[in-house]
C-alpha cells in the first residue's frame, strides 16, 4: 500500500491505496465521488474525464500515485457552493445536451477545458474536441450546441 495525497475540488485528501489503483478508482471508491464514471476499459469513452492541474485528462489512464500533489477537479466541484450551475452545465441543461447522463460529467469536464482555449468555437471545432468522448444517447447534436453556447457564456462571464 502507498499513501497518496492531492487536492480534489479544493480540499486536501489522502489515502492508503494499492499502487495499481487508478485515479478514477481512487476518486470513486476512496473519495466516494461517484459523478466521475467508468464506461470502458480502453481509454476510449471519456466518461472518466476530470481536470488535473487545469487540463482535462482521462482518470482511467493514470494511477492515483501519478496525481500525487496535483490539483484535481471533478464534476462535483464545478457548480457554485450554493448549487448554482456553472454556465457550461447550464448550457447543457438549456440545450438538452444530455439524456441518460452517464457520459455527461466527462463531456462537461472536457468542454470546460476546451472552452478556456476556444471562447467562440465553431460547431466543427467542438466536434473535433469530442474525439475522446463517446455518447450513445444524444447523437452529439445537442452536445455540440451546448458546448458552443457554454463557451460563449463562459467568455461573456469573464467580460
Amino acid at each position: 500500500m502507498v499513501k497518496v495525497s492531492m487536492k480534489v475540488n479544493g480540499k486536501p485528501v489522502s489515502a492508503e491505496v494499492e499502487p495499481r489503483t487508478l485515479l478514477v478508482t481512487f476518486i470513486r471508491e476512496n473519495l466516494r465521488l461517484t459523478g466521475t464514471h467508468v464506461g470502458c476499459d480502453t481509454a476510449q469513452c471519456g466518461a472518466c474525464t476530470v481536470q488535473m492541474n487545469g487540463r482535462a485528462i482521462k482518470s482511467c489512464s493514470i494511477v492515483a500515485m501519478q496525481a500525487e500533489g496535483a490539483d484535481i477537479l471533478t464534476i462535483e466541484g464545478v457548480a457554485k457552493a450554493d448549487g448554482t450551475l456553472h454556465p457550461m452545465q447550464a448550457a447543457f441543461k438549456e440545450n438538452h445536451g444530455l439524456q441518460c447522463g452517464f457520459c455527461t460529467p466527462g463531456m462537461v469536464m472536457n468542454a470546460l477545458d476546451f472552452a478556456k482555449r476556444h471562447p467562440n468555437p465553431t460547431e466543427q471545432e467542438v466536434r473535433e474536441s469530442l474525439e475522446g468522448n463517446l455518447c450513445r444517447c444524444t447523437g452529439y447534436h445537442n452536445i455540440v450546441k451546448s458546448i458552443v453556447a457554454g463557451a460563449k457564456a463562459m467568455a461573456g462571464a469573464k467580460g
Partner: protein, 780 residues
C-alpha cells in the same frame, strides 16, 4: 393558473443531478460490507468443460467463495426463461435449450460464464478469477447463421441448430403475383450484427436480509418488475414478495438492459450464501461478450411490380442468428416484430416471409433499438429504392404510387394501421432537404472530387406493443399493459408512480408535464417515481417506444379517477350536486357560478376529513390504473440522406440528414428531438461504422471501442428535423412513441444514398471507407 404544458419545451427535471455528478447509477450504490464478484468467462466459442478446478482461487487473498455451474445446479437454481414461444410452420413449439446462469457441461460462446469468484475487493476477485483452472475440450464452432444448420450442434434439443422455421403471409397469393409481375427486384444482403453499447456498463448489486428473509437487487435494468418476475418465478423459485428490484439511474439501455442476465441471478443467489451484498460491474470488454447483441439477419428479398411501378407482392426469406442461447425476448424479434412490418407505408397486397432462426456460437441476440423493425424497414426501403432505379421511376414518385391513404388499413401481415399521412411527411422532408437543389449540389461535390448521393427512407414502426391477449395468442408469455399510480398528498402535491422506466428518455419531465397539465399544477408540484418494485405497484418497463403511449395512458386513467373522486369531495364542500362540478386547471367549480375549491383544498379535505361525506366516500386521494392498449401505435416518417464519397479513398460522410416524423401528439418537442437525434446516430452507425465481427472459430474480433466503432461526434452531421402530426386514435394522449424511429429509418436512407452516389445496386453495411473503396473498384 399555469400555462399549458403539453407541447412545451420544458427543461428536464433530471438534468440537475446528472450535471452535478449526483446521479445514482448501480455502480454508485455502495452497500455496507459489500463483496465483489468477478466472472470467469470462456475464451472458447464451443467446448466441453472437462473440469473446473477452483481450489487455488478459493485460497487466494481476500476470496470468500467460488461457485460453478455445478454449485448452482446443486442449489436447484434454474435456467433463464424465454418470454415468447414461437410456433413453427409445422405447428411445433420452438426448440428451447436450457440456459444455465453458469455453464454446465459445455460452453457455447466466448464470454459465457464458467464460474464466479467473490472477494473483498473487485481487484482481488479479478486476481483470483485468473486462478480458476478450466480444462476445455475445444469443439468446432459456427458464427455465421448461414452455416449454422450444417455445423456441430450446440444443443441436444436442436441437432440442426435450428430453433424454428416460421412463416407469415399467403405464400400461394405471393407466388401467383410474382408469376404475372412486369418487373421483379431482388436483393440478397446481410443486416449487420450490432452491439448496443449503452455507455453505462451493466451492473448488479444483490443483498439478502436475514431479518425478513428478503432480497434486494440493484441492477441496471429497463424493467425491474419483469426482471423480478423472471428471476423469482423461473430461476430462484422465490416469492416475489421477498424480492425487491431497484433500477436506479440507468445509463442508457437501447434494449440491452431489458433482459434477465445470468450475472443478476448469480449475485442475488450468492448474497444469501455469503450473508453479504455481492456486487458486480461489467468491464466494457465483458459487455462486448455478454450483453445481448442485435440484428444479424441474412435475407433474400424480392419485390414484384406491375409495369407502372405498383407493388404486387413481396417475398422474403431470412435466416436470423439467435446466438448461443435464447435471450429473454429473442424469439419474437425476427418474427412478430419483423415480418409484420414488411408492408411498410405501402398497399402491397400480398406478402410472404419465412424466417429460419438458428443457434450459433455467439453471444445471444435480442432486441436492440428498433428490434425487428429496422431489419424490416431495411428490406422494404432498399427494395423500393432499387426497384425505382431499375424501372427508371423517381424514388419518391414510386413511393407515392404505393402509399396507403385510407385508414384504418389492414395489411397482409397482420397489422391494422389506425392512422397516418405519408404524403405529408414525404412532402415536408423533400422540402426541408431541398431535394430540388440536389443536382446542383452533386455537381459542386464532383468539382471537389466527391461523389454525392441522395437516398430516401419512408419507414413505419409498430410501437406500444399490445394488446396483451393478441400478444398472448402469438406466443407472448407476459402481459403488455402498464401500471400507474397517482398519490395526492394532503397539501396538494402529487407523486406519480409509473411502471415505465427512464434511462435517458426524460420521463420525470414528460410524465410530469402530462400530470401537471391535466391537474393544472406547477411542474414543481409533481414528482415522478419509477424503477423500484418496492415503490411502484407493477410495471412492464420500457422498450418498444411504449412508455408514453402505454405507461402515460395508465397515468391518465389514474388521473381521471383522481378528478372523479375530487368532484365528489368538491360537491360536498360546495354543497352542489356532483354532476354540476367541473374541473379546469386546478379548480373544481360549480358550473355557471363562481363557487369553487382549489385542487389543494380538495386534497386537504380528503386527508383531514372533518367536513367530508364519510358515509359515502373513503378518505384519501390515491388512485391507480392498469392500461392495456387496444392496438399498436404506428409512428412513421420520411428521411432524406445525402452523402459524399471520396473517390480516392472511399471515405463516406453523411453531409445532410433530414427527418420528418409523425409521432402523433408531442408532449415535449425538445425531448422528442433528442430521441430522434440519438436514434438517427445509431442508425447511421449501423450503416457506416458499426460491425460486430466474429471469425470462423467464434472469436469476437470487434471487442473494444477501438475495434467496434460507435459513431463519434465527427461521424455525424447536425440534423434537420421536423414533425407532422396525425394523433393516435386509440389512446387519450394521441401519442405514438418516438424512441426507435431514427434507428429504424436511418440505415436504409444512408445506404440508398451511398448506392446512388456509387451507381451500384447494392453494397454491404457498414459502408466503411474500405468497403466503399472495394465496391468502387469492382464497379469500374
Amino acid at each position: 393558473m399555469n400555462a399549458p404544458l403539453i407541447g412545451a419545451r420544458v427543461a428536464r427535471k433530471e438534468d440537475y443531478r446528472f450535471l452535478t455528478g449526483s446521479g445514482q447509477y448501480t455502480d454508485d450504490v455502495a452497500l455496507p460490507h459489500q463483496t465483489h464478484a468477478a466472472f470467469v468467462r470462456s475464451p472458447h466459442a464451443h467446448a466441453v468443460l472437462k473440469s473446473v478446478k477452483t481450489d487455488k482461487a478459493r485460497k487466494a487473498p481476500g476470496v470468500l467463495a467460488v461457485y460453478t455451474g455445478a454449485d448452482l445446479a446443486a442449489a436447484k437454481v434454474g435456467g433463464l426463461p424465454c418470454g415468447w414461444l414461437i410456433t413453427d410452420v409445422k405447428g411445433q413449439p420452438m426448440k428451447e435449450p436450457p440456459y444455465p446462469p453458469l455453464a454446465q457441461g459445455k460452453v457455447r460462446h466466448v464470454g459465457e460464464r464458467v464460474a464466479v469468484v467473490i472477494a473483498e475487493t473487485a481487484a482481488l476477485a479479478k486476481d483470483a478469477a485468473e486462478l480458476v483452472e478450466v480444462d476445455y475440450e475445444v469443439l468446432s464452432a459456427v458464427a455465421d447463421p448461414k452455416k449454422a444448420q450444417s455445423a456441430k450442434p450446440l444443443h441436444e434439443v436442436a441437432p440442426d441448430n435450428t430453433c424454428y422455421v416460421w412463416a407469415l403471409g399467403d405464400k400461394a397469393a405471393v407466388d401467383a403475383a410474382f408469376a404475372k409481375a412486369a418487373h421483379v427486384t431482388k436483393l440478397d444482403f446481410v443486416n449487420n450484427r450490432l452491439i448496443p453499447n449503452a455507455i453505462e456498463p451493466r451492473a448488479a448489486n444483490g443483498t439478502y436480509s436475514r431479518a425478513d428473509d428478503s432480497y434486494t437487487l440493484y441492477v441496471s435494468s429497463q424493467n425491474p418488475h419483469v426482471e423480478r418476475l423472471l428471476m423469482t418465478a423461473f430461476v430462484l423459485g422465490l416469492p416475489e414478495s421477498k424480492v425487491r428490484v431497484v433500477a436506479p439511474d440507468v445509463g442508457g439501455g437501447f434494449g440491452s438492459k431489458i433482459y434477465l442476465y445470468p450475472e443478476d441471478v448469480v449475485v442475488t443467489w450468492a448474497s444469501r450464501q455469503l450473508g453479504r451484498p455481492v456486487k458486480w460491474t461489467a468491464e466494457r470488454s465483458e459487455s462486448f461478450v455478454s450483453d445481448a447483441h442485435g440484428r444479424d439477419h441474412a435475407t433474400i428479398a424480392e419485390l414484384a411490380l406491375d409495369k407502372d411501378g405498383k407493388f404486387l407482392a413481396m417475398r422474403v426469406r431470412t435466416t436470423a442468428n439467435l446466438g448461443a442461447y435464447l435471450s429473454t425476448f429473442a424469439s419474437c424479434i425476427p418474427t412478430i416484430l419483423y415480418a409484420t412490418l414488411l408492408a411498410g407505408q405501402y398497399t402491397t397486397p400480398a406478402i410472404y416471409c419465412e424466417v429460419t432462426a438458428v443457434f450459433t456460437n455467439t453471444v445471444p441476440v435480442d432486441a436492440y433499438r428498433g428490434a425487428g423493425r429496422p431489419e424490416a424497414t431495411y428490406v422494404v426501403e432498399r427494395l423500393v429504392e432499387t426497384a425505382a432505379r431499375e424501372m427508371k421511376i423517381d424514388p419518391a414518385e414510386i413511393r407515392r404510387r404505393n402509399f396507403i391513404r385510407s385508414f384504418p388499413h389492414q395489411t397482409p401481415v397482420a397489422l391494422q394501421y389506425d392512422t397516418g399521412n405519408y404524403d405529408a411527411t414525404l412532402d415536408a422532408a423533400m422540402k426541408l432537404a431541398d431535394v430540388k437543389g440536389f443536382a446542383k449540389r452533386k455537381e459542386e461535390s464532383l468539382r471537389r472530387g466527391k461523389l454525392r448521393g441522395l437516398g430516401y427512407c419512408c419507414y413505419i414502426e409498430a410501437c406500444g406493443i399490445a394488446p396483451s391477449n393478441v400478444a398472448g395468442a402469438l406466443g407472448a408469455r407476459a402481459g403488455l399493459f402498464e401500471a400507474g399510480e397517482i398519490r395526492v398528498h394532503p397539501t396538494g402535491t402529487v407523486t406519480v408512480f409509473t411502471g415505465s422506466h427512464a434511462h435517458g428518455q426524460g420521463h420525470e419531465t414528460t410524465f410530469a408535464q402530462v400530470v401537471a397539465d391535466r391537474l393544472g399544477l406547477g411542474m414543481e408540484q409533481v414528482e415522478i417515481v419509477h424503477g423500484d418494485t418496492a415503490k411502484v405497484l407493477f410495471g412492464m418497463g420500457t422498450y418498444g417506444s411504449r412508455s408514453l403511449a402505454v405507461g402515460g395512458t395508465a397515468i391518465v386513467k389514474a388521473l381521471d379517477k383522481i378528478i372523479a373522486k375530487g368532484k365528489k369531495i368538491a360537491a360536498h364542500l360546495l354543497e352542489a350536486s356532483e354532476g354540476d362540478i367541473e374541473y379546469n386547471r386546478g379548480e373544481f367549480k360549480v358550473a355557471g357560478t363562481d363557487k369553487k375549491k382549489t385542487f389543494g383544498e380538495v386534497a386537504f379535505a380528503a386527508y383531514v376529513p372533518h367536513n367530508y361525506p364519510l358515509d359515502k366516500l373513503e378518505p384519501g386521494l390515491n388512485e391507480n390504473a392498469f392500461y392495456d392498449p387496444t392496438n399498436f401505435t404506428f409512428p412513421a416518417g420520411s428521411y432524406v440522406c445525402e452523402v459524399e464519397v471520396d473517390r480516392e479513398t472511399g471515405a463516406t460522410q453523411v453531409v445532410a440528414f433530414t427527418a420528418v416524423d409523425d409521432f402523433g401528439k408531442i408532449i415535449n418537442p425538445m425531448i422528442v428531438e433528442g430521441q430522434v437525434h440519438g436514434g438517427l446516430t445509431q442508425g447511421i452507425g449501423q450503416a457506416l461504422t458499426e460491425y460486430c465481427v466474429y471469425d470462423s472459430t467464434g472469436q469476437l474480433l470487434s471487442g473494444t471501442f477501438a475495434d467496434y466503432s460507435i459513431p463519434r461526434a465527427n461521424d455525424v452531421p447536425q440534423y434537420q428535423i421536423d414533425t407532422r402530426e396525425t394523433p393516435c386514435t386509440h389512446n387519450p394522449l394521441g401519442v405514438k412513441g418516438c424512441g426507435e424511429a431514427g434507428a429504424i429509418g436511418a440505415p436504409a436512407a444512408v445506404m440508398n444514398a451511398i448506392t446512388d452516389a456509387l451507381g451500384v445496386k447494392d453494397m454491404p453495411m457498414p459502408a466503411t471507407a474500405q468497403t466503399v473503396w472495394r465496391t468502387m473498384q469492382k464497379a469500374v
